[in-house]
């Protein structure tokens, strides 16, 4: 079977899973549904010949599941009473989404067709990556050699986000000691 068939099946499954995750009442079921969508992304990466990404996406999914379940599982089951404004927002949202989708179809015609990438810069990486960096995995040679500053910035962003999460979740306030030296 061609790869498009598998991808269309996987993407349809993911759209269905997303709608279920957004519309279901139970929060635990919504989190599980979103994890199913993420594992679908991991499977699609395997079909698209990106094994490194499939592994990283799988790990991301497991961590995200643990974080979301740990954070939200003990909150009391909240049922929102349906209001007229939320119904209006739903209708407005669906109409806006449909209009955006219709308007986007001509834009997607301008892209190169599926299966024929541009490869203007990447061909250099493919041809000379092994001799210039010595890495057999060309993705690793890009993130750790050609674009190492990107990776450095990524680690900085990740560190800042985790630091922010700890600062937000901190419950004890910092206060000065009796001697006045608060370091």
């Amino acid at each position: 079977m061609p790869v498009e068939t598998w991808l269309i099946f996987t993407l349809g499954f993911m759209i269905l899973g997303s709608i279920v995750a957004l519309e279901i009442r139970d929060i635990l079921s919504a989190i599980i549904a979103i994890s199913v969508v993420g594992l679908g992304v991991s499977m699609a990466f395997l079909f698209l010949q990106a094994p490194d990404l499939a592994i990283v996406q799988f790990l991301f999914e497991i961590f995200a599941l643990i974080i979301l379940v740990r954070a939200f599982i003990d909150k009391k089951n909240h049922q929102f009473e349906p209001s007229s404004s939320s119904m209006v927002m739903t209708i407005v949202g669906v109409v806006a989404i449909a209009v955006i989708f219709m308007l986007s179809i001509p834009m997607f015609r301008l892209l190169p067709p599926f299966g024929e990438p541009l490869m203007s810069v990447s061909q250099h990486y493919l041809d000379f990556g092994a001799s210039e960096t010595g890495a057999a995995n060309l993705v690793a040679s890009i993130i750790l050699d050609y674009r190492a500053y990107d990776t450095l910035g990524e680690v900085t962003v990740l560190f800042t986000a985790i630091l922010g999460a700890f600062a937000i979740l901190r419950t004890t306030a910092k206060h000065k000691t009796a001697g006045g030296n608060d370091e």
Binding site: V3, L7, I8, L11, G12, I15, I19, A21, L22, I31, I34, G38, V41, A44, F45, L48, Q49, A50, L53, V56, Q57, F60, A64, I67, L68, A71, K75, H78, F80, S85, T90, V92, G93, I97, I100, F101, S104, I105, F108, F114, E116, P117, M119, S122, Y125, L126, N137, L138, V139, I142, I143, R147, D150, E154, V157, L158, T160, A161, I168, L169
Partner: protein, 112 residues
């Protein structure tokens, strides 16, 4: 082109969740869906027909490999997404501790 449109439809499902849902948890999940769709779109754009993964093994020619550059960028993007998800969850938990609800229409005292 069908796969591009389906991927964009997945993005729009996430956008619908962000603008139409009142539950803070659902909004966080919608942002996650949008992230999945963007990552997947970049990798769809990198696929070359009948090509193999960009790892040099004996007998693999560089002419029949998929584009490695979007894969490297998306690898970065996935890891950053984990950090932003953790930050969003921390903010939501903190708001729940202060207001006792996840309903964004009830969280109104955010001024000063």
């Amino acid at each position: 082109m069908t796969v591009y449109l389906l991927c964009f439809a997945l993005f729009l499902v996430g956008l619908y969740g962000v603008i139409a849902k009142r539950d803070l948890i659902k909004i966080i999940l919608s942002i996650g869906i949008m992230g999945y769709a963007v990552n997947l779109f970049l990798i769809l754009f990198a696929y070359k027909r009948d090509a193999i993964y960009p790892i040099l093994t004996p007998g693999a020619a560089p002419q029949v490999m998929v584009d490695p550059l979007p894969q490297a960028l998306v690898l970065t993007s996935i890891v950053i997404e984990l950090g932003t998800t953790a930050l969003l969850v921390a903010l939501a938990v903190r708001l729940y501790q202060k207001y006792g609800t996840f309903d964004i229409t009830k969280i109104r005292r955010l001024r000063g």
